[in-house]
Symmetry: C2
Subunit: 510 residues, 2 copies
């Protein structure tokens, strides 16, 4: 019995010791959790969330796994779509690069900031975006999203393609970004070596596409083989530094994919079933996944909103080098749905996973929504065309918009109110044909007929009723519209970026 | 001190009691878990899994949330897609209903079973499917999937549209099903009351579409308003009964959605942004979700494989009543991708969630794969055109198929080998134009150019090399092909289903 007693006594002591140890470990764990939350989380209070925008270039609505492409695999972007809410009726601000990006960053229609060409004769009619010889820019009087966030204590950085002017202090550092690593315009405007797409016009030979770090050209021509990896690394460094500094951040990653000429680094080249276009998409998808994973691992995702979209529809006239608008009609440069309807994903705190928003949304809404989430007031001295998504995201409300106006340059081409879209003018994106006016306008129920295949019969009473509503909305919209001075009309060959005039504007290291 | 001692003593007793109770509850829980697994799980050993096929009608590749449709919401089918593996290069056996369903259920090209018309002149050229007056059927010599499964102890049931003949003992009960509740052919073949689509030809007025339970007409015309709910209820009863009987089951749910004339019951009517087409899709999606949820709740999902697909591409010539092939060209009735490329989802034990298979797959593979999973040998006395997916699903292998042959009736129209597809003959699905032979054939890289927009240049050496490979494969395929006797050529007005000749073939209850 004594032996048994001693045995159980020691057993009991051992048990207590274990209990004690596990309690101690629990205490330690709680302590570290406490310290972690105090140090890491409280640095970034929930009323100043972080923001990330991933912006693709010329990628169509149909070019993703989650929008049904059979051979382009985008597992990381699909994962984003599953983790967040998809916007299935999201429009860009314009059907081409420069004005679209102006709309995204200012929340205003590009006609207001002057990002349009006012000419319709050669060579100006081609100049719907900024070129190496453009002297215009996003006017300094415009207020950008990073500028407002920076004023409220945010770190702001941009990686990738700017395309809002480069002359006369108009690069990203002068429009609200603390940091910029990227190219000033599309990489077909210049001659990246080793790519076969013609990038010289008969009128002009561009200087090679430069790579900037801030205001300084660090490489010319840019080495596209390593560009995405470097953009990704820089993005992660920026997130990490902002986090260490205890500052909320705004990161804008504007990928050059999948604008022509297509490219992919060796790890992705020839790996996709969709050819070079698919390789480029894979490289972008991988970069998105790498940055997103970093947000997850570092615990920052719980205080970060991530938006993914594309600047305009696919450039299908480029043949197999162009993307797919899926079931939509038209392409880049056009105000058919295929030119301006793009995929949109928002992931973030309290944003529903597997969510779907079918209201009419605009990329200009991102400006308003992000400021709303950050508790920053909108500028009150100018019209803002974006509206906030917070009601639809967090309060089962609607996006407060009844009509949307689709411009090409300063021409209002089409208008959508509710389910219906009226085309007043149409024009092919990449051809010699002049704009075609439609009188009476072509009317579609875009929700029932997203492919714009079955116009409403103009003799039906319904046609007149709906057109009247849209006409009224257009009239009201146009009566209050003040167009900015065109920024795309002026040019000067001497302003082309050149790091070393003596050496054909070529400099390294590569 | 005494007081303290007593206090701690009672505290200790209370603690022990709690421990005892929680131990007892744990024991009870374990006991019930044990009983549950013994009773429920062991009844269905893993080597006889259950199978469910959901089959949509005329629904296009682009008509689902998970394939990018902006206004058709299919949350339940999207959930299936997320839970399972998607097949992005999946073909039907034929571009129209009857032969497609023959391929699915027999694993053989419909030319072998005779599900084609051999005429190309009116009225026979229209008769590419079974009609109320057809005297042919899926020949009894064909071996169906439910027939083989039934021979191996399975309960087998079908809900919905058969479309493989109804005369002379050819309904589902005579082709391997224990139970059938549904319609014998498409519901436009007959005149469901209240639907506006013309379903009478000038040549003939069909009897009203009947509803069968087994071999008996229980309602004529079928009440489409309640059909989906009744199919869903019957499907769940069948699953429940099979499970209680301790038998594995095969359930084939062949929805009439979204074949014209479109319909939806009152709970779904007018609820979707995509009009009546979207309402119909919502009702189907809801039914799929209800049946799938039942599998989850009853614990049967862990031993059940679920396949979802559509019988052919969308009937786009029906205007807004037709669906969308997404980025694919063509429609129902055609051998362009849009006519035969459909979405495919497989969910089941050990099937990867979020999985994607991009190999060339066929709906005929379902026959082979399900038999493979059930450990049942394939028939050896006849050619089988399907191949098993088990390698690609469970062993990171490939689908063992290099070429796929696309027929319209008994004509081999196109062939695909690897990434390339050669069109030898094309024909519009719903028009008066005769077939067009292409010499040289039109060749596409379907993986790079899924929209069949950019044919390979016939003067390029690559064209000759690839065409030679496809030609050889076609030659070999055709040399071994034995066509069955046409089942669609013969007809007799007297065989139209009629429950009560005296009362215009109308009988209830409704």
């Amino acid at each position: 019995l004594n032996f048994l007693f001693i045995f159980f006594y020691f057993f009991y002591l051992f048990f207590c010791l274990c209990e004690l140890m596990s309690s101690f470990l629990l205490f330690l764990y709680s302590f570290f959790l406490f310290v972690y939350f105090e140090v890491v989380s409280l640095q970034i209070p929930s009323n100043t969330p972080n923001f990330v925008i991933f912006f693709a270039d010329d990628v169509g609505y149909g070019d993703f796994g989650f929008t049904g492409h059979p051979t382009i695999l985008t597992p990381n972007i699909d994962y984003l779509a599953a983790q967040g809410t998809r916007f299935t009726q999201l429009y860009t601000s314009a059907p081409v690069c420069s004005p679209s990006r102006a709309g995204l960053l200012t929340g205003r229609l590009p006609i207001r900031s002057g990002i349009y060409t006012s000419h319709n004769s050669y060579p100006y009619d081609q100049f719907r975006v900024f070129y190496p010889f453009s002297t215009g820019s996003l006017p300094p009087s415009e207020i950008t999203l990073p500028q407002l966030l920076k004023e409220h204590g945010y770190s702001t950085a941009m990686m990738g393609k700017w395309h809002l002017g480069h002359y006369n202090n108009s690069l990203p550092l002068h429009r609200g970004f603390d940091e910029w690593f990227g190219i000033p315009y599309s990489h077909d405007e210049g001659c990246p070596p080793g790519y076969q797409m013609p990038c010289e016009t008969s009128q002009h030979i561009y200087t090679p596409t430069p790579l900037y770090d801030g205001d300084t050209i660090i490489q010319q021509p840019v080495n596209l083989d390593t560009l995405i990896q470097r953009m990704t690394d820089r993005a992660i460094s920026f997130i990490n530094e902002s986090s260490l500094d205890g500052k909320p951040f705004f990161l804008y990653v504007a990928y050059p994919e999948a604008h022509v000429p297509l490219f992919a680094s060796s790890a992705f080249l020839g790996q996709s079933l969709r050819g070079l276009y698919g390789d480029a998409m894979s490289e972008m998808d991988n970069s998105v996944g790498t940055i997103y994973s970093y947000l997850v691992q570092s615990g920052l995702l719980s205080s970060t909103y991530v938006f993914f979209s594309s600047d305009n529809g696919p450039w299908t006239s480029m043949g197999i080098d162009g993307g797919s608008a899926g079931l939509f009609r038209g392409q880049k440069g056009e105000t058919w749905e295929g030119g301006m309807r793009v995929p949109g994903i928002l992931v973030g705190p309290s944003v529903s996973p597997f969510g779907i928003v079918t209201d009419i949304a605009s990329q200009m809404d991102v400006f308003v929504t992000f400021l709303d989430l950050a508790g920053i007031s909108l500028p009150t001295d100018r019209p803002i065309d974006g509206v906030s998504w917070t009601n639809v995201l967090f309060q089962s409300g609607r996006i407060p918009r009844h009509c949307y106006f689709l411009y090409r340059d300063s021409l209002l081409m089409a208008a959508r109110c509710g389910a219906y879209k009226a085309h007043y003018i149409t024009q092919c994106g990449y051809c010699e044909n002049p704009p075609v006016s439609h009188s009476p306008p072509i009317l579609y129920n875009i929700q029932v007929d997203p492919s714009e295949s079955f116009p409403l019969n103009t003799t039906e009473p319904q046609y007149q009723t709906i057109l009247h509503i849209i006409d009224e909305a257009v009239h009201e919209h146009q009566s209050g519209m003040e167009a900015g001075i065109s920024q795309l009309d002026s040019y000067d060959l001497k302003v082309e970026p050149c790091c070393d005039l003596a050496d054909r504007c070529v400099c390294g290291p590569w």
